[in-house]
């Protein structure tokens, strides 16, 4: 029989039996053996594994004093030398999930495999999902036993140094990695099988899952446009000719703001597009207003079609941009405009 894998288990102050929210500032402590749900985990591990220690920390302490908490955990892991680290399950508890993500990161740093479990929307997944093995859970701690059974299964295999297979087969959340594998049938055969299943209304699994975009509720129309302040935004890489913020031509991670007060139109002498995703010759030799139509917006403003243009425009170069980066930039622009009392946006997406 194989030597039992040595498991270190991480719990927050609640599951660690210290107390509820009033104990959320409890610093890191290390106890011998299993605690709380760790006892059930021990049962699931059976003779294949042993929970040798439990690390407990308050939810606030870990996210507020991350450096100090991480240092204590790192020292404990170096001392105990577990073969695998288990954290949670955190279900939908955000700070707990963040701590579990940090724990997985620390384990990885030390070359120790780890597994955690939490709800797919937990901020721990949102922030650290790509870097950890996490089993999806619901929001209810009542499923603790079932989750721990899955956690124990992966913990044993990881602790023995086994490689895990694909996420959907092993039951952890996809991390977004692609690996090269050999299949029995060629792509043409598999595509034909998929098509046949599709036309016969039989179930099939795509090999290229498409990201599902979030549905954005349509904002209500503007009731009185003549009272509206309107801002101009462009992803066409429009910047002042000197490119003062050093906007990049591709994979931009920032947007920048430029004053347009008192400017009637974008002159080709003063503005340029640094966008690297299309031919910018028309923008840069003829008319930058093609990608940020200030000239026409000013005319409508002068005609009283709306109250005024916001004094600042927002631009980025939208090419090679990850969805998460675009979401961050979009949220940043929208937040600034909302705080400034802007009613609507004219945006050019190139």
């Amino acid at each position: 029989m194989e030597t039992p894998v040595r498991v270190v288990h991480y719990l927050n102050q609640f599951f660690g039996g210290i107390g509820a929210e009033e104990h959320a500032n409890t610093p890191v402590q290390v106890r011998d053996g299993p605690v709380g749900p760790g006892r059930a985990l021990q049962q699931m591990l059976g003779e294949s594994g042993s929970v040798v220690a439990t690390i407990i920390c308050g939810d606030n302490y870990f996210v507020e004093e991350t450096e100090a908490a991480s240092q204590t955990v790192r020292e404990a892991l170096e001392r105990i030398q577990p073969s695998v680290v288990v954290s949670g399950p955190a279900f939908d508890a955000g700070r707990y999930g963040m701590a579990c993500g940090l724990i997985s990161g620390l384990a990885t740093e030390l070359g120790i495999p780890s597994v955690t479990a939490m709800h797919p929307d937990n901020s721990g997944i949102v922030v650290y999902g790509k870097d950890m093995i996490a089993i999806p859970t619901g929001v209810d701690a009542a499923e603790m036993q079932a989750v721990l059974k899955d956690v124990a299964g992966l913990a044993i295999r990881l602790g023995r140094g086994n490689e895990l297979g694909p996420a959907d087969e092993e039951g952890y959340l996809p991390r977004g990695y692609r690996r090269i594998v050999n299949r029995d049938k060629s792509g043409a055969e598999r595509a034909l099988e998929m098509l046949t299943a599709y036309v016969h209304d039989r179930p099939f699994t795509t090999e290229i899952p498409i990201r599902a975009y979030e549905a954005i509720p349509a904002p209500a129309p503007i009731a009185n446009i003549r009272e509206a302040t309107i801002a101009m935004v462009s992803s066409g890489g429009i910047v002042p000719r000197s490119n003062p913020d050093h906007q990049v031509s591709s994979r931009a991670e920032n947007y920048f703001k430029y004053p347009i007060e008192g400017i009637d139109e974008l002159s080709v002498d003063d503005w340029i597009s640094v966008h690297g995703g299309f031919n910018t010759v028309y923008l840069n030799t003829k008319d930058p207003n093609y990608a940020l139509p200030l000239r026409y917006a000013r005319r409508m403003e002068a005609q009283g079609e709306f109250k005024s243009l916001y004094h600042t425009c927002f631009t980025t170069a939208g090419t090679g941009c990850a969805v998460s980066v675009a979401q961050r930039m979009g949220a940043g622009i929208a937040g600034e405009l909302r705080d400034a009392g802007v009613d609507a946006v004219l945006m050019v997406a190139t």
């Binding site: 349509a218 129309p221 910018t280 010759v281 008319d287 026409y296 050019v348």
Partner: protein
């Protein structure tokens, strides 16, 4: 305002105005200066109009619909 409206529509933008081409969304340098400006003006005016129009899902607004043949040649 986008020259590839299927993209913003597919990712959930609710008010999308069709532009001319990616290289010149709000206008057309191949036209006379006057016509170029008229196209740009129509696109921006359509965008302002769209802001006053109730929609309940991603919706395409066609500024150049009056000139269908031109529109078709410019959609890439």
């Amino acid at each position: 305002m986008s020259a590839l409206p299927s993209v913003p529509l597919s990712v959930g933008a609710n008010r999308v105005v069709r532009g001319v081409r990616v290289e010149h969304v709000c206008g057309d340098p191949l036209l006379s200066e006057e016509q170029d400006a008229a196209v740009g003006m129509r696109i921006v005016a359509t965008a302002i109009q769209s802001l006053q129009t109730p929609v309940d899902k991603p919706t395409l607004f066609e500024p150049l619909a009056a000139d269908a043949s031109k529109e078709a040649t410019h959609v890439s």
